[in-house]
């Protein structure tokens, strides 16, 4: 029976080795990835105050990359599609952050007052508009287009990234007939279901990042 104990010890050593290997494997990435915690960020709002993603802990958060002069953004605002979604989701307790990553001098870069006037004119209802002139937030999320949409669940996990809907056109009339991915992701996740379409190719104008 002492023979047996040698194998036992060897087994302990083997398990020990395998667990050490497993421990060495754990890595954490710091870029937005669907299914992983959404990267933290801080940016200034319309009043010049610093706002962080952490301020909205425990709530669903929708991120909308925004550029009011982009034809694709106009499509969704001039058709009223974006406002409808904003009202609907914020009404269900979600936080809506419109993020402007246009650099100074580039299309879509606006002052807080210009943006306020735009929101009033369009009757837009984001929870906050955040300014990201350095493009830090945009790059952390890999935002490519305006609009580029993200949904973060109440546990801070990114559950959707991509296009606003399934019709990548710049025509306002298409917004009404398209399947809206953001609404679908929010509805499924808040009903405790897995998100069917969690990642799509965004469409729109390029984000006008700083050179």
């Amino acid at each position: 029976m002492r023979k047996q104990s040698m194998w036992k010890r060897s087994f302990v050593a083997a398990v020990f080795t395998v667990s050490a290997i497993a421990a060495g494997v754990a890595h954490a990435a710091d870029v937005a990835k669907v299914g992983s915690p959404a990267p933290a960020f801080t940016a200034t709002d319309l009043t010049g105050k610093s706002r962080s993603l952490a301020d909205f802990k425990g709530k669903y958060v929708v991120l909308e990359w925004h550029n009011q002069s982009c034809p694709f953004v106009k499509k969704h605002y001039e058709s009223g599609n974006m406002q409808k979604l904003q009202t609907e989701l914020t009404g269900k307790g979600a936080v809506w952050l419109s993020i402007i990553s246009s650099a100074p001098g580039k299309q879509g870069f606006v002052t807080p007052d210009e943006e306020k006037a735009y929101l009033a004119e369009q009757k837009a209802k984001p929870t906050e508009v955040l300014f990201d002139p350095e493009g830090t937030v945009g790059k952390a999320y890999g935002a490519k287009t305006t609009p580029h949409m993200y949904v973060i669940d109440d546990k801070g996990v990114l559950i959707y990234a991509g296009a606003i809907d399934d019709n990548p056109s710049s025509e306002a009339a298409d917004a009404a007939t398209a399947k809206n991915y953001v609404r679908a992701a929010f509805d499924e996740a808040s009903a405790g279901k897995p998100v069917t379409t969690a990642s799509t190719a965004p469409y729109g104008c390029s984000v006008k990042y700083k050179n």
Partner: protein, 733 residues
């Protein structure tokens, strides 16, 4: 061509007013006067782009066909888009309105350009573009009046800063006639466009795609890589690939491959345009390892490799002991032994699955790992060193475990052997790990790049190969009969087998010294002393106290091992300060880019201390005076990418070459666009020098050439100078 300012051409306000008037998008409608000349259209000057409807015939042939297209001429720095616009933008759309008898086919998209916009990449056309479709004309088409052809075009035209949607209803009056060619300028446009249309793959070419980790390998068989290294795959589907991801080109046995990056998950199929140099080809392929492509060769090699592992210093002692246990067994015992052989094989295979599973899962989670990752952690190295040391002490009879080897066979027949056999398999796998990485890293790296089922098949085959010799012994008594009679020699052999294990321990400590520095070495050595103490206590005394003391000593050794942390900074790069004083530089993508930009050839040695093949190549080939002299002569920048410790930059660089392990030897010529050449895994000075001599003599200064009296070299330089004038053919080695 009559150019006319259309309604869409006014200032912004005019346009906005017009847009409101026309509803969405602002459709500029240009109506032609009915007195237009045959086949004449009017160019619409919209914002930042002129558009026009054109046909490749002066008159449409009844019963024949012609091409009808919309010509886009964007302003300088503006562009329109391909069918897949890339990261942003939108493809133009054309709706035809044709008279009865005319039918338009699908739009023919010329191969696009890649248009960068900051970090993004769009696919489109920065210059004149013709988007045409074939139109068939019925034989009985009404011939009374010219054909009234209309196209409603919508587009998005962008520069780097803004995008403007546009639209126009374009018209063309085309007489009916014999199908004479259009005016020369239009004919030239159609001709030039035809050159840019993707064509079918030439006979003998084959394009396949397979998943490669999280990426897709698009393999082009039957043609060498383009001389200028320029190849790109444009996917039709926006969702399929990340437009801004680089597509690394690497040479394959019978062609080359591009490594493509999906948007999110690997698509089930790829359709698109493969651009190679100036030509574009239509490609459509499933992304899967088809049944025919099941890699029997790697699976067979894995089996063979597994068998060879039995002879490695880490594994041989374990296996030899098991084989010795078979000596002199007969009848009943033999049946049980067979069963245990199979259970042992199961233990091995399951352990390999666990290792492969950990790695595949970690990579699916985005970790930058390759095979050999187990040996990049000094804690793992320390635990392995301790395990081997313990086993050596057992073999040397410092600890007595269950009497003599001769008893093993009998012991296995006594009922509780299944578990023991299984864990022997686990043990064999664990002790084999340090040997798989150095000797089989590349094969396993290949396996890990395959879809999970194939990867597991390769690992299974490896495990079966490792188990095979022992299982064979249990099944073929004739083989066992060839073993010598049992006797005292078995004790001697058993003790002798401790020394390969101790040699492995010495090697592991050396490896750990690179990863954790002197603190790691100290911790491992103290751990080994503790293990030695535990073995002595266990062997010398019996009873509870001894067991507690031995267990405590081993536990402390284990804690020491786990507390070893990798050094923050890598140790100073190994610089050989020999007579040649040739300097290897540490790996840096920026340094490689800089040297290549300066037109210098670059040699990269991907290596690791734990990679035995790498170490052998280094000593035998790379760090020889003749190779270093040749490198100095040619001004080669020598880079050493040391993967002894985890380094995600190096892992990524390896993946760009489709590798997941070391060694890898890459040689960039001084020319920017030459694809890098990959050297074989086993190097000799002649191989390296042969490859170096294929470099162009750009770095050779005239003075060097003339002052060198070596006739041989002058001749060779002349040959290379001659080659410089013409096409350089890259030969695979």
């Amino acid at each position: 061509m009559v150019a006319m300012r259309g309604a869409g051409s006014g200032g912004r306000e005019t346009r906005d007013r017009f847009r409101r008037a026309c509803g969405r998008l602002g459709l500029a409608t240009v109506l032609l006067s009915t007195t237009a000349l045959p086949a004449r259209a009017v160019m619409v000057a919209a914002k930042h782009v002129d558009v026009e409807l054109v046909a490749d015939v002066a008159a449409a042939p009844p019963g024949g066909a012609f091409r009808l297209g919309v010509r886009f001429v964007p302003e300088k720095d503006w562009h329109v888009y391909w069918r897949n616009p890339g990261d942003s933008g939108e493809a133009p759309r054309i709706d035809w309105t044709l008279p009865p008898g005319l039918t338009a086919g699908a739009l023919e998209w010329p191969a696009p350009e890649r248009i960068p916009a900051g970090p993004l990449v769009n696919f489109g056309y920065a210059g004149e573009m013709l988007l045409a479709a074939p139109v068939t004309v019925a034989a009985d088409v009404a011939t009374g009046a010219p054909l009234d052809l209309k196209a409603q075009a919508k587009w998005l035209v962008c520069n780097e800063d803004e995008c403007i949607p546009g639209g126009a209803t374009l018209a063309l009056k085309l007489p009916i006639g014999t199908g004479d060619p259009a005016a020369p300028a239009t004919a030239r446009l159609f001709g030039a466009t035809r050159e840019r249309l993707p064509i079918a793959l030439p006979a003998g070419w084959r394009v396949t795609a397979r998943p490669d980790g999280g990426r897709v390998a698009l393999v082009v068989d039957g043609t060498p890589p383009p001389a200028d290294g320029a190849a790109f795959f444009f996917a039709h589907d926006r969702e399929a690939l990340d437009p801004s991801a680089a597509q690394a080109l690497s040479r394959e046995a019978n062609g080359f491959r591009l490594t493509l990056t999906p948007r999110s998950t690997v698509p089930p199929a790829l359709a698109g345009v493969l651009e190679i140099g100036a030509r574009a080809y239509t490609v459509e392929t499933k992304v899967a390892a088809s049944a025919a492509a099941l890699p029997f060769v790697p699976i067979a090699f894995a089996f063979l490799g597994g068998m060879i592992l039995n002879l490695m210093p880490c594994v041989f002692p374990v296996l030899a002991l098991k084989a010795l246990g078979l000596v002199g067994l007969g009848g009943e015992a033999r049946r049980r032994v067979r069963r245990h052989g199979l259970v042992y094989a199961a233990g091995i295979v399951v352990s390999f699955w666990i290792l492969a599973g950990i790695l595949l899962a970690a990579r699916a989670g985005g970790a930058e790992l390759g095979w050999g990752f187990q040996l990049q952690s000094p804690a793992v190295i320390a635990v392995l060193a301790g395990l081997f040391f313990w086993m050596a002490l057992v073999l040397l009879d410092v600890v007595t475990v269950g009497g003599s080897i001769m008893g093993v066979g009998q012991h296995l027949t006594t009922g509780d052997g299944d578990r023991a056999a299984f864990f022997t398999g686990v043990l064999a796998t664990v002790v084999a790990t340090p040997c798989t990485a150095p000797f089989m890293g590349t094969a396993l790296g290949f396996a890990l790049g395959q879809p999970a089922p194939i990867a597991l098949a390769v690992f299974t085959s490896l495990g079966l190969g490792l188990a095979f010799p022992y299982v064979l012994f249990t099944y073929v008594p004739a083989l066992a009969r060839h073993l010598p009679r049992p006797g005292a020699w078995m004790e001697t052999l058993k003790q002798l087998l401790a020394f390969p294990l101790l040699a492995t321990v010495a090697w592991l400590v050396w490896v750990a010294s690179f990863q954790g520095g002197p603190p790691a070495v100290a911790a491992i050595l103290i751990g080994l002393v503790l293990i030695g103490f535990a073995a002595w206590v266990a062997g010398r005394f019996s009873g509870g106290g001894a067991r507690v003391a031995a267990t405590a000593a081993v536990a402390i050794a284990g804690l020491l091992a786990l507390r070893i942390t990798p050094l923050d900074a890598p140790p100073a790069p190994e610089v050989t300060a020999g007579a040649t004083a040739f300097a290897w530089e540490p790996f840096s993508p920026a340094r490689i880019a800089e040297a290549r930009a300066a037109g210098k050839p670059v040699f990269v040695d991907f290596t690791a201390a734990w990679c035995v093949t790498c170490q052998v190549n280094k000593k035998v080939a790379l760090e020889t005076s003749e190779v270093e002299a040749k490198m100095r002569e040619l001004g080669v920048v020598a880079i050493r990418a040391d993967w002894t410790r985890p380094d995600e930059h190096i892992t990524r660089a390896l993946q760009e070459f489709g590798r997941d392990g070391v060694p890898l030897y890459v040689l960039y010529s001084g020319k920017q666009n030459d694809p890098p050449r990959i050297l074989p895994q086993i190097l000799t000075p002649a191989i390296v020098i042969g490859e170096l001599e294929k470099l162009e003599p750009l770095e050779l200064k005239a003075s060097e050439l003339t002052s060198d009296a070596d006739a041989h070299r002058s001749t060779r330089s002349a040959t290379r100078s001659a080659a410089h004038g013409g096409e350089i053919e890259w030969r695979s080695t």
